[in-house]
Amino acid sequence: MAQLAITAGGAGPAHRDGPSRADEAPVPQRKRRTPWKSWLLFLAFAGPNVALLVIFTYKPLLQSLQYSLLQWNIGSATARFVGLDNYTGWFTDPATANVVRVTVIFTVATVAGGMVLGLSLALLLNRKLRGTGLARTMVVAPYVLSGVAVGLLWLFVFDPNFGVLGAVLKGIGLGSPDWYNDPAWALPMIIVVYLWKNVGYVALIYLAALQAVPRDLVEAATLDGAGPFASFRNVVLPLLGPTTFFLSVTTLLSSLQSFDIIQAMTKGGPLQGTTTMMYQIYQEGFATGRAGYSSAIATVLFVVLLVITAVQMLFIQKKVHY
């Protein structure tokens, strides 16, 4: 693209595109200074947004980094500098291994499960059948509900004594698992509820992507003898690559930051069986009041998210664009 240039005199319109005339002496090009009015306009439009970002995103982020180096009881006007003690404390705490395990299981199950279920639902909803519109609405509806409301609702469903699920299981001769007292069942319960609430979002995005897949490519594959599965595997799925990449990033981030359903249903229990890193940040910061320690965990989670997202951007993104 041609660069904007000004004549030696400084004023006048810039020459646009097209080769310079051979008989003209070459004019040294330099960038025109942005007029102050443009700067004011920029500030008027971008300033409020930048200010909000600085105040509500960057400031807390940096403050959290600062607090992670302090022993600070939340609410206290004073704190002690303890260096990296909060970090070493968290990495050497016997409870940390469990928190990391719960976080990994929850994240992998909700991201992978969400993608598979979401894509399956999108494939179903992409068919031209009667009632598809209603089905689409029903699939997406839970996503717009409040996480706390969803959690409270499912508390009743899973209740072993009074819940619908327990009654159904009893009806087929099975007993209800002790969802609330057994950590081995509590975590799957939370995963199921999270998936129920969020799978609609994945399905919605996949559905939009499926509708953008060129029909002629699928038809060409069919003419070449590809069956429905081969056509999906070799034509549709690769074309969904960018969507899959986008969803993998967004669902991973939201899964790692999940809080509302856990708070409403289990409060991290039983026996810390549903305490993810995100929930531990809340517990330590507000229930226990160790703001410095909580900030250290928040920083670790931030770094983990940053690394995972960077890896996704650097390595996976390359393979999905076409």
Binding site: V50, V54, I55, Y58, K59, L61, L62, Q63, L65, Q66, Y67, L70, Q71, W72, N73, I74, G75, S76, A77, T78, A79, R80, F81, P94, L155, D159, P160, N161, F162, D178, W179, Y180, N181, D182, K267, G269, P270, L271, Q272, Q283, F286, A287, T288, G289, R290, Q317, K318, H321
Partner: protein, 449 residues
């Protein structure tokens, strides 16, 4: 794939980015705690209260314990009519923890209240953070009679020779039983006097009623509270002052007894969700719940409910107190504090204590209120309430390891849930909790005492 935006950045853009980050850094340096300065409790500074004029308007943060918003509003109305001071009642959370979290987060800003709910597990943290005022001098100036408060309930808020809050909505755990199940089992119409007697009765309850004899609750702020009964009853304790004492044979025996009734005798079960709901639905024959749940249980149960003292252990009766008191924040002006003190005196006088208790089910915190006309009418209407009040005489102040150390209750709950839900080794579970609580005390409490 697009190249990284940083790679194509020119000098000016780089400078702009640096300015943005630098500006955010400068902002980050604003606010937050003062690093390296001496902290700790507020001191009873020599305010000349006689020279202070009370503020015309104050704010009170409450969670309205026992759905008491209307009761609190009525008392405020009476106070305003008498003093001319307006009190803004703010719903600052659904429970004590939520109010505490908001209060902690608001400290240092101009948004703190003039009077705040201070529960048994929170007031001490407020105190060591320097967030609340010691009340002795203010009480003296206001001729605020504190000698009439129930001794245990008032002394719950004592540390370093000062009182940091006064009792308000106070409760104890109480033994509830189904009279219908008891009658079927041929048991006398009373709670078992001891845990040994409960063990004798349990098979009869099980066979006659077809129910789990005892339903136990779980979760933080609850499990380690009612377990005080078994622990103290066995002669053990969570801690002696700041030293954890969960390695004593008495403490281990208490935990083993808990496992025996759950796993061997099957005379007790830990609730899935809410032991009060289970009891109300007739799934269990008896349960331990707060006195604050009395009205709710009496209202929801479809059978006649009996109440009794918590069963005694080998070392005798044992019952902790709980609930909340009220504290005055230290960071307010003397005018606001004086007005808050005047309201506190009014709110907890004998008449209003009786009014509050009779409408909520919480303990009357003043001894003079116990036998007043208002409470006598309550006892006549709801005899079960009398049991709760009588049990108050045998209560004792809670162990510091649970209520004063930031993660004390959480660590003890984890240990007890391991013992109750997974039949974990009591010695091992208690050792883990003790180590964590001791570490937390050394890091989060000791430097501020």
């Amino acid at each position: 794939m697009n190249a990284s935006p940083f790679a194509t950045m020119n000098r000016r853009q780089l400078l702009q980015l640096a300015a943005l980050v630098g500006g955010a850094g400068a902002l980050a340096a604003c606010g937050g705690p003062a690093v390296g300065e001496a902290g700790g409790a507020a001191t009873d500074t020599a305010t000349d209260w006689a020279a202070v004029t009370p503020a015309k308007e104050i704010t009170w943060w409450s969670n309205h314990p026992g759905t008491s918003k209307d009761i609190e509003s009525e008392i405020i109305k009476r106070f305003t009519a008498e003093s001319g001071i307006k009190v803004n009642l703010v719903t600052a959370g659904a429970n004590y923890d939520e109010v505490a979290q908001k209060f902690q987060a608001a400290t240092g800003s101009s948004n703190i209240p003039d009077l705040v709910i201070a529960s048994d597990v929170w007031w001490f943290r407020y105190m060591i953070n320097g967030q609340i005022l010691p009340l002795e001098q203010l009480a003296k100036h206001l001729e605020f009679g504190t000698e009439d408060f129930n001794t245990t309930l008032y002394n719950d808020y004592e540390f370093s020779g000062s009182h940091w809050a006064v009792p308000y909505a106070r409760s104890t755990p109480l033994f509830y039983y189904s009279k219908a199940v008891w009658e079927k089992a041929g048991l006398p119409d009373r709670a078992p006097k001891t845990w040994t007697e409960f063990d004798e009765w349990a098979p009869k309850i099980q066979s006659a009623g077809g129910v789990t004899p005892l339903g136990l609750g779980k979760g933080t702020s609850w499990t380690a509270w009612w377990f005080c009964n078994m622990l103290w009853g066995a002669g053990g304790a969570y801690s002696k002052d700041w030293t954890m004492t969960l390695d004593t044979p008495e403490a281990i025996d208490a935990a083993k007894y808990l496992q025996t009734i759950i796993y061997d005798n099957k005379s007790a079960a830990v609730t899935s969700n809410d032991q009060v709901a289970d009891f109300g639905a007739g799934l269990t024959g008896c349960t331990i719940a707060s006195t604050g749940s009395l009205s709710g249980i009496l209202g929801s149960a479809k059978f006649e409910v009996g109440t009794g003292f918590l069963p005694e252990g080998a070392a005798g009766p044992a019952c902790p107190t709980g609930g909340t008191g009220l504290a005055i924040p230290a960071g307010k002006s003397p005018e606001q504090q004086l007005a808050a003190g005047m309201f506190l005196k009014f709110l907890t006088n004998a008449e209003n204590t009786a009014y509050f208790s009779s409408n909520t089910g919480y303990m009357p915190v003043r001894t003079s209120a116990l036998e007043g006309e208002t409470m006598k009418a309550v006892y006549a209407k709801t005899p079960q309430f009398r049991t709760a009040v009588d049990q108050l005489a045998g209560t004792r102040v809670q162990d510091w390891g649970r209520v004063f150390v930031p993660n004390g209750d959480k660590d003890l709950t984890t240990a007890l849930e391991k013992i109750m839900l997974q039949k974990g080794d009591p010695a091992e579970a208690f050792a883990t909790a003790s180590a964590s609580i001791t570490k937390s005390y050394e890091e989060n409490v000791k430097p501020y005492l």
